[in-house]
Amino acid sequence: MMEVNGSAMIVMAGKNCVGIASDRRLGWNKQMTVACDFQKVFQLNDRIIVGLAGLGTDVQSLRNLLRFRMNLYKLREEREMSPKAFSAMLASLLYEKRFGPYFVEPVVAGLNEDGKPFISSMDFIGAPTSAEDFVVQGTCYSQLHGMCESLYRPDMDQNALFETLSQCLQAAVDRDALSGWGAEVHIITPEGTYTRTLKSRQD
């Protein structure tokens, strides 16, 4: 189920910034590529970006559900949701469907109020992992892990973080048939979010 459409994403922490990189391929049943600009990364508020790796339809359904829940939280609480609360909510939403799950493995990139990065990922039934350095998800999970472990160093500034994320993602997806075909990187800093689309191999 997770390999029907294909995906690859990384979230990495820097010094007072956090970045998320994702591929853009929409594949179909491991047989062909339908589009190279499929959106899998969604900025939900100024300080939270979620990347949804997995089955395309559930990526879109879950994105709508998350947008709804964020808006509802904002109306009720009259404040923005923190990344930690968001991650907990997402895990709970996924577990609600324990016996008929969304086939999506999310990664969360957030910046806390104090500017410190927050990273988490979970499996498709909501088992969370938080990390200090990076998390990865996707069809080339192992490749991504290897690249990140090699190239990561702590306390990177946003330019170094961008470079590292780009190199890690592109090297990993080049060794996976189901992901790649375009890449985008978003860096959240206290000043704002910077998005760049990478020129990558289209194969």
Binding site: N5, M32, V34, D37, G56, Q60, S61, G100
Partner: protein
């Protein structure tokens, strides 16, 4: 298995779908089925897949769109319609899935032409060209090569002829007849290739 093709041009969208109604991979009931239904004055939906799901789903969307227009006194945009279709498919997916793949083409006065690829799992993507079915394996590469920005209708129909010719050459059990419709600012037209 039936195929469909969609191409977005400068200010129009062309949808083509084969005319077959078949069973068991070898029996052809009919070869002249029109699988491209008008949703509104300037939106058309090509559905391929299981025959009953195809007809039921496209009529369901057509009638609900009309209801929306009557209730809200406003024309729904192509993007809105695409998302409405996706939502209906996504809800049905975990109850009683529709086994239909869709291409939605339409023009809006403000937005211009738009083509949406929607598969039976309710994955939605806006595309410049798209295809469903076994035919997709052959035509996507042709479209990658031949499609360019601001195609005129003649150019787009030429590309479409190449695509259909390739399907006839290489797809075993390819349907002989295709329905082709164009939607532009003047409305919906049937085109003879």
């Amino acid at each position: 298995m039936d195929s469909s093709i969609g191409i977005q041009g400068k200010d129009f969208v062309i949808l083509a779908a084969d005319g077959s109604a078949s069973q068991g991979g070898f029996l052809m009931y009919r070869k002249d089925v029109d699988k491209i239904l008008p949703m509104s004055e300037k939106q058309i939906l090509a559905t391929v897949g299981s025959a009953s799901d195809r007809e039921v789903f496209s009529e369901y969307i057509q009638k609900n769109l009309r209801l929306y227009e009557l209730e809200n006194q406003i024309h729904m945009s192509t993007f809105g319609l695409a998302n409405f279709i996706r939502k209906e498919l996504a809800i049905a997916l975990r109850r009683a899935p529709y086994q239909t793949n869709l291409l939605l083409g339409g023009t809006d006065d403000s937005e211009g032409p738009a083509l949406f690829w929607i598969d039976y799992l309710a994955t939605l993507q806006k595309v410049k060209f798209g295809a469903h079915g076994y035919g997709a394996f052959f035509v996507l590469s042709i479209l990658d090569k031949e499609w360019k920005e601001d195609l005129t209708e003649e150019e787009a129909l030429d590309v479409l002829r190449k695509c259909i010719a390739e399907i006839h050459t290489r797809l075993a059990l390819a349907a002989p007849e295709w329905t082709v419709k164009v939607v532009d600012s003047n409305g919906i037209r049937v085109v003879e290739l």
